[in-house]
């Protein structure tokens, strides 16, 4: 873990944001189990230090692109629970007016260009956001989140090449949680993922994705360097997803051992460990941590209750937003 006792405020915000992600996911899972949520969703629990460590190093108008496992990125980049739960339930007050759902949640106001249900599908988008930043001299940085499985998509190599050629301010953040769906990473990735980025001349880093301070420290440095025109960068973040591939993936012994899950959850939980460290450093007391957890839990439950009661979009919305500037595509 990092050093310094300074920055109590930053630490508490990071802790709180991780707790908020966990609480969001627990509630989302509950909504699924109680058959209140349409469709499926992919839980971010276990990976909180990645999203929070990175997003806390970004400004509000820096951009991120997210994935099918995207609630964590969305929360970490500044989204509100209410609009998020509304979106998950397909309600009109959701971030995307219920049109996107869990797999497409976007929060343009805080620079989240959206989750993506095409694995690797946002690699071009993030790189393009960085291209705008460079062409328009905005000083913005773009972070592209993706999983280890997504490194099998050819698109990544194409955009890394261009990002490297043109020195774009983009950080490729691989959340290496060891699995793509029901398959272990080593079965689907030959050689070294980090070396692949390096081969394009991209400076690359391997970092413990369960250690929010380590992630945050590194990201701060890389973001600063991106702003100076020293990008792009690659981060390979070792992490773990606690739940199944999606909420319905309950019996997973055939592809990963219960022991392995238990080990990560008990020994390497990013929230518990960071909480312990905060206590050890006497930055907070155990009671204060409990207080944070309680507040967050309450916030989440209220947001769920709100979303459950919120209205669905009106039928007339079905052909809205097909084309910008065309109120209703089918009666134009």
């Amino acid at each position: 873990m990092g050093q310094a006792k300074a920055n109590t405020e930053d630490y508490l915000r990071m802790y709180t944001q991780m707790v908020r992600i966990r609480a969001f996911e627990d509630n989302a899972n509950q909504l699924y189990l109680s058959a209140k949520m349409p469709g499926l969703t992919h839980m971010y629990s276990g990976q909180e230090a990645v999203a929070v460590g990175i997003c806390e190093a970004l400004e509000d108008d820096d951009r991120i692109t997210s994935t099918h496992r995207g609630h964590g990125h969305c929360v970490a980049k500044g989204a509100e629970f209410k609009q998020m739960f509304c979106e998950l339930l397909g309600k009109a007050e959701g971030y995307c007016r219920g049109k996107g759902g869990s797999m497409h949640i976007a929060d343009q106001d805080h620079g989240n260009l959206g989750a993506n249900a095409i694995v690797g599908g946002s690699m071009g988008i993030a790189t393009g956001a960085a291209l705008t930043a460079k062409l328009q001299g905005t000083g913005r940085v773009a972070v592209c989140f993706f999983g280890d499985g997504a490194t099998a998509q050819g698109l990544w190599y194409e955009v890394m090449n261009m990002a490297a050629l043109w020195k774009l301010p983009v950080i490729y953040a691989c959340e290496n949680n060891g699995y793509s769906e029901y398959t272990k990473t080593e079965e689907i990735a030959a050689g070294s993922i980090t070396a692949r980025a390096e081969a394009f001349g991209i400076e690359s880093f391997e970092v413990d994705g369960q250690d929010v301070l380590a992630v945050n420290d590194l990201t701060q440095k890389l973001v600063a360097r991106c702003r100076k025109g020293e990008g792009p960068f690659f981060m390979n973040l070792k992490t773990y997803r606690y739940h199944g591939h999606h909420v319905g993936d309950i019996n997973r012994d055939y592809y990963r051992a219960k022991d392995e899950e238990a080990e990560w959850k008990t020994l390497r939980d990013p929230i518990v460990n960071f909480g312990k460290w905060l206590e050890e450093q006497r930055i907070v007391t155990a009671d204060e941590l409990v207080g944070i957890n309680d507040t967050v839990r309450k916030e989440a439950e209220e947001a769920v209750a709100y979303a459950e009661k919120a209205a669905y979009p009106d039928a007339s919305e079905v052909d809205m937003h097909v084309y910008a500037g065309v109120p209703h595509a089918l009666s134009a």
Partner: protein
């Protein structure tokens, strides 16, 4: 002798039978082996045929479809599993520039006997990137054959034919139908390509229905029958090749027709079939050629919206009533 089995089981049996029959047949795709795909359609195959013939791939759709083309050109008969029909956009080059054209470009010397199994169908709350029915796109490309099974019976019979065909065949299963049961023979059978099935005979109006829409139209026909309107439901089963004769015969008999398909309506399958009817059965028609496809909007996540985008039995019946009662003037 028949017994009732699910569409999922029918597909599984079809593949197993062909793999037993012909050692050149193998299967590849994401999580097809131990996991048996997310829809569990392929469960058990890896146990019988081993990981050499049931191959788990990385998330590299263009890559493994390209490999299937090359394998097919050199004596293998690959079956490729594409997890969602929406991912077909990723493999269009390998499918349409390579697989579809190789036989022609080589003057008949090379053949590409491969099957791409994928799916279609909305209303699963999977949103815009996991709900599309994109079969019209591949039907537009000469060199590909396109099959659209509408029940377990068709799924098995068409798939076995596809595997034995010396051309690239794309087969779209309806992902909402995997658990639907139908009577399927114990004995081996094949369903030839280019032979439509008259699902239900009738004299008053023809409903040409593909895939998921066969059930929808059959329900519509049931409702119409109670009102004295006898609808003939025709399932083309393959849209390339298309059994024009059976469709035209029916329309010439009934003089009225609705073409129903779950792809987007514009520039989709309903257009092609309607246009052929308008040209070739023109003098027999007593009413405008009607068609109903999915609404021309990306598929929305919210249940309140998604259900509006796909043709329903009620909608089809209502349109049929209008046509039969002469309530149709030329629309503006």
């Amino acid at each position: 002798m028949t017994r009732e089995i699910t569409l999922s089981k029918a597909v599984n049996e079809g593949i197993a039978e062909e793999m037993r029959r012909d050692p050149a047949v193998f299967l590849m795709g994401e999580d097809v082996a131990e996991a048996g795909t997310p829809f569990k359609v392929l469960s058990g195959l890896v146990e019988e045929f081993g990981t050499e013939r049931v191959i788990d791939t990385p998330i590299s759709e263009p890559g493994f479809v390209g490999m299937a083309v090359g394998a097919a050109m050199t004596g293998s008969r690959p079956i490729v599993d594409l997890m969602f029909g929406d991912f077909i956009f990723l493999v269009m080059d390998q499918l349409c520039n390579q697989a579809a054209k190789t036989h022609y470009m080589s003057g008949g010397k090379l053949t590409v006997p491969m099957v791409l199994r994928t799916n279609l169908g909305a209303t699963r709350r999977s949103a815009a990137q996991h709900s599309q029915s994109l079969h019209a796109l591949v039907a537009h490309i000469p060199g590909l054959k396109v099959a659209l099974p509408s029940s377990a019976y068709e799924a098995k019979g068409l798939l076995k034919t596809a595997i034995r065909d010396d051309n690239p065949v794309v087969i779209f299963e309806d992902k909402l139908m995997y658990q639907d049961k139908a009577q399927v023979p114990e004995e081996e059978y094949l369903i030839p390509f280019g032979e439509a099935n008259v699902v239900r005979p009738g004299r008053d109006i023809t409903l040409v229905a593909t895939s998921s829409m066969v059930q929808v139209c059959t329900k519509a026909a049931d409702a119409l029958a109670k009102e004295g309107i006898e609808a003939e439901v025709i399932d083309p089963r393959t849209i390339v090749p298309l059994d024009e004769a059976t469709i035209l015969d029916s329309v010439r008999k009934t003089s009225r027709v609705i073409v129903v398909d779950e792809g987007h309506q514009s520039f989709g399958v309903t257009a092609e079939i309607a246009a052929r009817i308008a040209e070739k059965a023109f003098y027999y028609l007593d009413a405008p050629v009607a068609r109903m496809g999915a609404m021309d909007v990306p598929v929305p996540f919210s249940p309140a919206l998604e259900d509006l985008t796909v043709p329903t039995p009620e909608g089809v019946a209502a349109r049929a009533r209008q046509l039969c009662r002469g309530e149709v003037a030329d629309a503006a």
